[in-house]
């Protein structure tokens, strides 16, 4: 199993541009999550999904959108990139929530100039 994979690894965007961060898991997990990690700030939850077709906002959803058309994929969309969205983005998955282990992808480093 590849686990959780994310693409791209690194991207530079200009202000106002759009992009989609891809996330795929091959563990048949129900739950998937998107986090952003800023220096010294820990992980902040952006959006999460409890299954295909169901998504919900996390702590910092503004400026982002998600969809979950399949169990495996959970893309994160940035419509109008802003410098405040410069961060490292992590996708994670778990079979259930609560005490279950979250498996993280390697991250996408995004720089908005």
């Amino acid at each position: 199993n590849a686990g959780v994979t994310q693409t791209p690894k690194f991207r530079i965007l200009k202000i106002g541009q759009s992009m989609t961060l891809q996330c795929t898991q091959d563990m048949n997990h129900n739950y998937m999550y998107w986090y952003r990690q800023d220096p010294g700030m820990g992980l902040k939850l952006i959006y999460y999904s409890v299954g295909a077709g169901i998504t919900d906002k996390g702590e910092v959803p503004n400026g982002y959108n998600v969809s979950r058309s399949t169990t495996e994929d959970f893309p994160l969309r940035l419509e109008l990139a802003a410098p405040s969205q410069t961060s490292v983005y992590f996708c994670a998955s778990s079979y259930e929530t609560g005490w279950e282990t979250q498996y993280f992808g390697p991250g996408t480093r995004l720089l908005v100039l």
Binding site: Y35, M41, L43, F90, W99, T101, F104, P106, G107
Partner: protein, 111 residues
């Protein structure tokens, strides 16, 4: 307001020394997890504690969940350079709630 406070923020010690890092809250958690994150990678789960007073050992790492389930500690014995990384604690307030992360303790072990 940060629900989970981790201390210290940074710690740099010599190989072979012992250390303890802390994760504190004023809230009661149903479970708490510790993750380690190495540069350029995502966090990896080390342990989950669910019972107040619980102690779990993972080789040279000892994890303790406070009796009141408001705090936790991670003790490393005879630290090695391979222990270097960002240690994150994360907790669930309720069984079905989303996980909440602390800001982490960045640990550097000098050879």
């Amino acid at each position: 307001t940060q629900l989970l406070e981790q201390s210290p923020q940074f710690l740099s010690i010599q190989e072979g020394e012992n250390l303890t890092v802390y994760c504190n809250s004023s809230s009661v958690f149903s479970s708490l997890q510790w993750y380690r994150q190495e540069p350029g990678e995502g966090p990896v789960l080390l342990v989950t504690v669910v019972t107040g007073g619980e102690v779990k050992k993972l080789k040279r790492l000892t994890f303790q969940f406070g009796d009141a389930r408001k705090d936790s500690s991670l003790h490393i014995t005879a630290a090695q350079p391979g222990d270097t990384g960002l240690y994150l604690c994360a907790g669930h307030l309720n069984r079905d709630d989303k996980i909440i992360f602390g800001k982490g303790t960045r640990l550097h072990i000098l050879p």
